[in-house]
Each structure stands twice: as C-alpha cells, then as structure tokens.
Amino acid sequence: MTVTNSFTWMIGGPQGSGINSVAENFAKACIRGGLHIFANIEYHSNIKGEHSYYRLRVESKAPRSHVDWIDLLVALDRETIFGDMNKPHPTHRGHRHEVSPGGGIIYDRSLNLTPDSFGRDDIKLFPIPYMDLLVEALKEFGKDKELSKYQVMVNTIALGASLGLADYDFDLATEAIREGFTGRKAALGDLNVSAAKRGYDYAKTSFGEDAFPIKLRKQPLSGKRMMIRGVQAVAIAKLKAGCGFQTYYPITPATDESEYLESHQKEYNMIVVQAEDEIAAINMATGAAHAGLRSSTSTSGPGFSLMAEGLGWAGITEAPGPVVILYQRAGPATGLPTRTEQADLRFALHAAHGEFPRIIIAPGDVVETYYDTFDAFNYAEHYQVPVILLTDKFLASTYQDIPLFNSDDLKVDRGDLLKESDLVASTDYRRYRWTELGISPRAIPGQKGGIFWTTGDEHDEHGHITEASDIRIKMMRKRMRKIELAGEVIPDSKKAILHGPKSAPVTLVGWGSSKGAILDGMEDLKTDGIETNFLQVRYVNPFPTNLVQQALGQARRKIAIENNYSAQMAGLIREKTGIAMDNTIVKFDGRPFSQNEIYEGVKDIIKNGIKEVTVSHA
C-alpha cells in the first residue's frame, strides 16, 4: 500500500558529518512543495565523532510534534544502525529497531552488511555506494583528487537517494541546496546538486519506483511560510521589541540566539556583549535596563543558577528588565547538557533569596515564543520587574514551518517613562515614589532633574538605604503589588488556554514545549475513542489561578504531563488552587515527548490503570 505525504525520515551519523544541513535542505524542499515539517535534532556534548541524529517529519497537515518511529533511516555510519553496544560504556542500541514495518534503511554499501545482521525481516534495505557516487560527482568538477576534502558530501548523496525513494520533486531540492552556497561558493552548490542527483538517480534505477511505500507529492502552497526554530523566534521578537542590549556567556543551547543577534547587529543596532560569566551577563543587562535601553540575556540552567543573585538585585531595584531567556536543559549541574527538560519551573519561580516580583512566561510553541518574548519587554518596562521567558532546548532547536509572524497588533509600551521636560523643574524627584499601583515614574540617567539612587539594600523613596520597619513594609507592599497588578491587567486568554472541548472525560494538563505532542496525541486518542481536552498553563507568574480553577474544578480525570521527574506544574497548581492531579505522565531522560508517547501514556492510565507513568526514549 502506498502512503502519500506522511513520512518520518531520520539521518544519523557522527557529530560533524553535516546532518544538520542536509536535514534542513530536505525540510526546506518539502516546505517549498507545500508540505509541512517538524524537525528536531538530538546530539551529544561533543564536537566531532559522537552519534547525533536529525529527525524530519513531513505531513500534508502541519505536524506539531514528532513520532518515535522512522519510515526511512539514513545511516551515515554503522553506529546509526547498530548503536555502540560494542563500546565499554554503551549509550544506545542504534535506530534499526525504530524503523516502522515496511520502512527502510539507506546505508553505505561498502559496509558489506548482510541482511540478517539487521535482525529485521520486515524492513527494506537500500545499500548505496556513497563513495563511488561521490567520486563520480567530483570527477565531473575535476575535484576527484580532493576526495578527503569533500568526503562529508556523502550526506548529500544520501539526501538524493531519500528523495529518489520518496519520488519527490528533485528541482525543489536543487533550489534548497543552491541557496546554501552563494557568491564565491556557488560552484560548490552545483557540485552538491550533482551529488544529490546521483543519489536520486541511483535509488530510482537500482531499487525501482515501488521499492519504498511512502511517496512525497507537492501540494498547493498555503501562503508564504517560514522554517523557523525557537531561538530565531526569540531573537526576531527581541529586535521587534526594540531590545538594544543583549548579553550572554556561551552555553548550550542558548548561544545560537545571541549569535543570530550579533550577526544582525549592524542592520538593527543592538549591542551584544559576550560576558565573562553569567553573573556579569545578567548584571550588565540590568545596568543597561536602568540606564535606559531595553535589555536581555539568554542562558540555560547552569547559567541561570549563577544569575540568581543578579535577579534579586534587579527585583529590589525595580529595574525595567532584563528579560531573561531560560532555555531549560536536563540538570542538575551539567546534567545532560545537550538534552531537553522542563525541570526549572520551580527554580525560575524562586531563584534568588528573599521575595520580589517577577513575571514568568512559558510559551508552548514557536509562535507563542515570538509573541511572549515581545510582551516580556513591555512587561519589564511597564512593571519594572525582571521577566523570565521559560523555554527549553527542544523548542529552541526544533524547526517548524509557520506563516509569517503578524506584528500588526504589537505595540511597544515603555511604561511610565519620564521625559527630561517633565523633570527639569523638579527639585525632589523620587525614583521609588509611593503610588497606588506600586509603579513609580522612571527617569533615565543623564536626564536633568532625574537624579536618583538605587540600591540592593532596602531603601526609601529616593533610593537611599533604610532599615526602618515602616518603610520596609511599604516598599515590600509596593513591589509585590506590581505582580498582583500584572495578574489583573494581563488578559486571562494569554495566561492559560483550554484546548479542545470545554468538558471532557479526561483533561490533560501541561505547559511549555510539550504542547505540540499533547495536541497531536489528543487526536490519536480521539481516533481511539478517548475524548480529552488540554489545559495549557502559559503564565507561571502571575499565575492564572481563577482560570485554572475553572478549567479543572469540574474536570473528571486530570492528568499532568511534564518533561521532568516530579511534575512541578502539578505541584504549583495544587499550591495555587488546591486541586490535585489524578495522574501524571513524566519524562526525564532528556528527550522531548513524542506524539505517540502522549497517546501511549494516557492509554496506560485509562486502560491499564497505572497511576503515574514514566515514558522514556529508551
């Protein structure tokens, strides 16, 4: 039976073998042909040599998650198929077990693998003479003497072979490949196209048109679409929001965002500083915010741990920012440095000693990431608080195709910012003036009449140190009032979303990047006769208490789904609303939830009566 336009492809190989570029070219070619993609990468903390893989899901309707099976596996090395079980400290069993029945594996013919060695009689094998085809392509361009230099191009041959087996339009791939090589490198583009074409033709002629059961066919384009991942959505939102100052210390997976900004700083006028550590990164950003620029810093858990102290200073000094982007990864300490997790919810909520207001937003996908990042800058200046955007490695590095962002409704709100003309006449400007709402009009250093003091000590309205108990009480109330205010002003529709029917026998509860897998998993459950709805909590602070209470108060079976060990959001919901979850589905092996894991997890609970389910990539 032939299937059209529903396909999961994976390319695996040693780190440094160029799997990213071919996977992204494949994805681009699909999007140009009106198809929709979801593409995520898993890699080791290593520069060259360790196993990494890129998974590309292609569908006729936009997928919001990945699935764990593979229809076509491209192995650039033996380990991708068989794993590293022969090593003293093995880490994986390879991907041959994940290939769906009827699916196939593309691999290097020169590995001389016998069909038996795969241990599967229900899959198809597509040995390709990678090197022979590459040499042919190099000969065409007179470069066959430089084989070692171009060896990495076997990935392009494998891409071509994949396209051939799926019988996809080769011209779309040509276009995608060429775009990667512009200007003086254009000749390399031609060479890569030639290599891909050889793989394409070889697959078609050697294995025949019907060798592989899944075909990809162009469909009409549904408007202009971008292929974008979380770090790009964050960065573009920062530029849109008028962020003028970004700091960072190199850390996976946050650095890509800062590098993106630095590469565009000339056109967009943004100062990007690589700091000596995350302590400096957050404090520089806070200094910049106080001095008048919208500022931001981006990091992951280890860096955020160092930022705790600076976050407190931003809090007590009512700095108008920074916006801190926290890309969670599996911790603690170094943990699984290149893998994902949602285990910093409690930490983001409580980081730094003492009590002070902070806003924490956890976007569920790349679109929400854009709008939430934009809002974060408005909140930072309006409420004069640090804002944390709580996202993760999975969302940071996963590509989706989406329509272009519509920014028509995005308006910069700089809050109660004074002009020099408001200040020149003043003789007694008070940076921390008592106001009913807790927000004091803000001057910018350099303004005449706006001189103020700010301190991490408790302070009076002028910003001078005080230990007076009555002022302490007033100041604490002033600061904490702001988070109450934010809770009142920010619309509920932003803070939490109930997806699906208003009422359902099963209510799934989640937050952040698992949104896509939950939504896709719900469709599978529905097909199977299990009706669900899904409460997505998007604001961690101010917490949408009323909305969550409404959504869960009447819910029959409540299942928390979280990418952490202890179901942190479930705990927070119980703290805020008194409502306890009936079940949990957690995953804490550093890998994101797949669509099928959501389905299987819920089934385990409903059909098998398991109370707490742990799903795992293994």
């Binding site: 679409r225 790009q232 700091a275 302590i279 200094g287 001095a291 200073w313 250093p445 301190t455």
Partner: protein
Amino acid sequence: MLELKTYRTQVHNDWCPGCGDFGIVNAIQMTLLEMQLEPHRVAIFSGIGCSGKTPHFVNAYGFHTLHGRVLPIATGARLSNPGLTVVAVGGDGDGLGIGAGHFVNTGRRNLDFTYVLYDNGVYGLTKGQASPTLPKGVKTKSMPAPAIIERVNPIAMAVASGYTFVARSYALDVRHLKQTLRAAIEHRGSAFVDVLQTCPTYNDINTKEWYGGEDLPVKAPRLYKLEDSGYNGVVADPSTDEVNTKKGNALVKSFEWGDKIPIGVFFKMEVPTFEDQLALRMPALKDKPFVEQDIYNRDIAPLLDELT
C-alpha cells in the same frame, strides 16, 4: 553655578570617624567640580561594604550594586548610555576577591570609565577579616591569626588585565588623589586607581602613622611620587614595543612595597576603547547612543523573508 555642595547629599554618613573613605568621597566631589561635570551627567557605581555607600553621599546618579558586581553593572549602563561619565568604586575585597573575574575581564574591554579601589587590606563592614590585599604574615587586631596566603597586587593585575590607565594614590593626600582621579576620568579608556586607605577601626598595621613612616629608623613617609623619581609610565606610541617595555616597568614598580611605596601613574596608553570598537561594528552609534535613538520600530520583514 556649580559648587562643592552641588555634589553633596544630605544623607547621614555612618563611616567610622577618621575613615579613609571620607578622603576619597571628598576627592571625588572636588574632582567633579574641578572638571565642571554637571551632576546629572555623572553616574557613580559601587559594590558592597563601607565603600558601597559612596554613591549615596554624592549628588549624581547613584547605583549601589551587589558585592563584587559593580563592574558588570557599570559596564551595562555605560555601554547603553555613553553620555554618562561613569565612576565605579569598591573595596579591595569587592574588586579583587569576590569580583576578581569581573576586574580582569573589565580591564580587557577598555571601556571608557574609571574604577576606584578603596584599598585598606581588610573587610571592614564584616568587622575586620583579611582582604585580598593584606600581606601574608600580617595579623590585624581582629584576626585570630596572621594571614597565611599571599596578597594580590592590584597594580600588577590591572596592567596584566589591560586597563589602559593604572595609578595609585592615597586617601589622606586629597590633593594627589584629586589630581589622579581627574587624570583617570579624563583618560579615554579603562582607568584604574588603587587608593591606599587607612581603616582606623580594623587595620592597626597600615595606619596613618605607618604610611607616614614614623616606625622607620629614619622617620620618612613611605609614599613617594613616581613622577618625582623620574619614572614615566606613559606609552607615547602604542604601535611599538614600547607597550611591553612600559608594562614590564609598571609590573616591576608595582612590587615595590615596604619602606618605600610608589604612588602616581604606573601605566598609561591611549588605544581605541570598547565603545570605539562597537561604533566600528555599528556606525549608527557614532551619531548618538542607542538610548537616544528610535530602535522601537525596526523592520523585521527581511528577517522573516530570509526564513522562507
């Protein structure tokens, strides 16, 4: 009209009587007056400790930051708002203990600002523990036993880290201090001033009398001025080997400590600042700082198109 009181606040000063900090804050105010810098064009940043209270006593934008973090916060403010004259102050524990990493890396950047180190060898506000500049073997009155680790050399560290103006002065010689601070503020680039200072409450070793050399066989002040000794730390041509020679001279000089202690300018060199380098990358910075530009209506359409 600007006068000395323009730079003063009414905030109650709770430093100990006779504290060297008074000399430093007075010198800062006198320097600002002498330079005719309007208070609203100046921002004073401090860390934590006795010295941390400095900004509250100066009528200028004041940032009392975290222990050891004065330099990053000052850096962020200075870069985003380069119209400000930025003076950062902090104790030796603040700058060379908990903030040592920032001290080194801020020097590397050659930001156009001034950093004044209140160097008295003790952690005063926590009641007299040994600070990074207290020499090995010394025991001040509140220490249970003498220090058993080596001191750091602030001048040598500053030169090695890349500060392009490195000087030392003395809190009780307000005239010399004022002259040094002025040179530091006028310097284009990262200026570091190590201010030797007495702590009458906890440092009973490096006292006013000790600096005055009253314990020496032939009573004579320990401090002498580099410029009086024929020393010249100014690099005339930064494109030559003179840089290394002068840095070497400064390092050697910086280890002079004991009966004779040099004060004055150890090293000075004019090279492009961090701000200059940023303006090369972003020409718009040459016109005016981003804080005065409209960066709130950027056109992101080309970035979105790039992703299609």
